[in-house]
Symmetry: C3
Subunit: 347 residues, 3 copies
């Protein structure tokens, strides 16, 4: 068991400690924390949970620091500080297995020091794997793939041939990198494939969630820029580019050739059409269908509001006749002598 | 070939048999059934299909029992009875292979009797596997996982370390249980991960579809309660709880920390935002974005109605100016001496 | 390096060559092309990119042929011609490994000539595999599966027992074919499974994307007809039928028993409810929820238009009261002596 004195944690985080100095052995939630645990508090409505908590210590902001007399670390950003403390108590533990006897590594592959390759992994010809990379069981690394230092690939990740993976990239189980994009051209009565000869490039510090798929480019590359975070079950089509530090929540789909800027936040199940450009710093709300480019940073949304089934049916039925309703209002306005002119841009 | 007399089936199901007693060898659809098959009928509009069917026998309700003179079993719930009959003819067949010589089981793992572990499976340290569990090829079971009796895991399932799986749990191919949740904290110009130290707990009789992903909890556990059914390609984020016997159709996404009650039905592609509480017995229609908690059981929906492209464009264009339209109506009302006051709650 | 003279390419494609005859070694995008590359041009707004391009040659339509004096191939459909040229320079290369010593093929399986089976593949009892089939590492082929000639399965594909795969079928990594459909019948306080005894049939020339899932039929079969193309992360439920040459973009979900006609185009993230019939030649726009059958070919859509968050909130708030708004307009019309009668069909 790792143990830190609360005062040691205060030192490491440049935090102010209030209350008694105690020994801490783990982080925990308000609800589950025990006297040897440290928790965090940053939502006033959860004050009751703080009062009821058995936690020995709490990470808290200046604003709320007087709401409790527990031992506490006072910081600017409690959740960030808590994340750092949690990382101290929960380092990524991994016992290197070296290269499993049940893995197949092509003779021409170059494997750096400290690498761990699990059972039933296949590593193709001319692959380069950087230092301390951990490849869990059942992964497949195609020919000519290049992998930077300190990556972690969880079980059953597939990386197709020629893709480039930066340093410290983390891929969760089942992720597929470099599959063929959906490139179909109609040739009379059948579809013809256009070869997908680009690659996927995952820059340093990219993270990709479970069962997320990222297609290789048709001619040029699909690129996920440094530090971008992709959650589970995301689909990235061919030729897409995701900017630095953008974060995409689960079930998002990005269609082909769309470029997303840096520092964007795309909430769950948002769908972005193809061939668009989304500028830096854009926030897209959950479930929004983005069908045109966004040139100004800001928050964008668009989803049908949930209602009871009955209310929804009535409103949706009217929605199907909204244009007529607007015209009826126009007629009423004319009759009333009210001049109204709106330019209704088509969407 | 398994054969039952129709009268035997009637006995087993406490059903009333009408018509001649015949030998039945399999279940089949109305369209494909042959004279040695039994089918079911429970939709009046499909009467023609019943009349045209070559089926030797049919499971039918009292209400429709006179619509045919085929041999028939009359029951309250034809589809339920048919499911039970189908299970008689189609037991889950599996020839135990014991533990494949091409599987890797850690020496500290404890494997009960009757277990079948397929080729290229990896079982981690200190794993417990209950009796008669069947693990198909290519699965990965992480360290310290506990698996109850009579589970079936189809090929290429991944269970991360420390997760808990109850009895009779069925996981379809490609399911990922216990991947790291999407826990990112902004630290100046980059994202920091908050360690995901909770587990996933799948209680008894849970079933999970192909390529569905269930993230482990950040601090506490992600919990799928007894008997819940999850279809394919579902995403369950960290700290979510799904209540007893709730059924989620394909492509549903549940964002972090949301709690779903018991006996809920969530239709395909519905998306539920994070940190919400959905009470017991809620039905969510397909494609609905649920962005606030639901405290009353009932049916909820919200999706844009499909139209021809032209109609949709016109209506959607008006929708972008709906607030102005409402204001124009208000002005007309004022002018007409009609007082109207609605409290339009923001969504 | 493969090299063709531009005049040879012109011959092969029946294209008119304009400008100097040069040697071409590869296809490339307008932006990345070098003097030894051929590119294509078919969008007037990208004229500037054409002018700036270092490409040695360009595939172009008659209409635009005079916009450049580069060496060029003039054709009716530049993208189609370019696809064919790309296929010349980029044939699917594969060095047959025969049957890997680290694969497990059941003794009763029948494997035709020229087949390549990668490491850690499992092939079940009585499987038939046609000529020149390539199965990449980590795939699982269940008992009694039949696979036609010239198929390619990328890593970690799973095909459940008894499924039928035609000729030239391509399955990208992580695809799951034949998983159990979501067949649950309520039996008092719990769910009962109805056995899924149908198969999946993938006809000739079908292609399926990464991590797409196709469930087997409950009684009859799930069928994907000849030449249909399915992108990544699609969910096809039990008993669905997809018509010839229909193309489904990523993240589409098709619920149980729905039949989709031939030559349909279904854009990304569209969701189609169960038990519907969609006729031939239907185009569904991205993100549309299709909740009723479509009997006429044409284009259909329905999705909430994206706006700034503030505008969206205001409009969505009004949308929740659209029925009342319509009634208020009706009252105004009555008062004004304007008779208005619309039959508002429920959706």
């Amino acid at each position: 068991v790792t143990t830190y004195l609360l005062s040691e944690l205060a030192n490491r985080l440049n935090a102010k400690m209030l209350g008694e100095d105690i020994a801490i052995t783990q982080v925990a939630s308000l609800e589950k924390a025990q006297p040897e645990h440290i928790t965090f508090f940053n939502e006033k409505p959860r004050l009751r949970n703080l009062q009821d908590s058995a936690a020995g210590a709490v990470v808290i902001s200046e604003e709320y620091a007087n709401l409790t007399d527990k031992s506490r670390l006072v910081v600017k950003n409690p959740y960030l500080a808590f994340a750092k403390i949690s990382a101290l108590f929960n380092p990524v533990r991994f016992t290197s297995v070296g290269i499993s006897a049940q893995a197949i590594v092509a003779p021409s592959a170059q494997i750096a020091g400290g690498v761990s390759i699990g059972a039933y992994v296949t590593v193709g010809e001319r692959v380069h794997i950087g230092e301390r990379v951990v490849i869990h069981p059942g992964c497949h690394i195609g020919d000519d793939v290049v992998i930077g230092d300190d990556c972690v690939f969880y079980p059953r990740v597939t990386i197709y041939h020629q893709c480039i993976v930066g340093k410290r990239v983390i891929l969760q189980a089942g992720a597929v990198i470099g599959s063929d994009g959906f490139g179909n051209v109609r040739d009379q009565d059948k579809w013809l494939n256009i070869p997908q000869i680009g690659r996927v490039i995952l820059e340093d510090d990219v993270q990709v969630g479970a069962n997320t798929t990222i297609d290789r480019g048709t001619l040029d590359d699909t690129i996920i820029r440094q530090g971008a975070r992709l959650d589970n079950q995301i689909q990235i089509a061919h030729n897409v580019e995701i900017g630095r530090n953008s974060a995409l929540a689960a079930c998002v789909g990005i269609a082909g050739s769309t470029k997303i800027g840096a520092d964007c936040l795309i909430a769950g199940a948002a769908m972005i059409s193809g061939h668009l450009t989304i500028t830096d710093g854009v926030i897209i709300l959950g479930g929004t269908l983005v069908a045109k480019s966004i040139k100004q940073s800001g928050t964008y949304g668009g989803s049908y509001p949930m209602q009871s089934h009955t209310e929804w049916r009535h409103n949706a039925a009217q929605l199907r006749h909204l244009k007529q309703l607007a015209e009826r209002v126009k007629i009423l306005e004319k009759q009333s002598g009210l001049a109204h002119s709106t330019t209704l841009s088509e969407i």
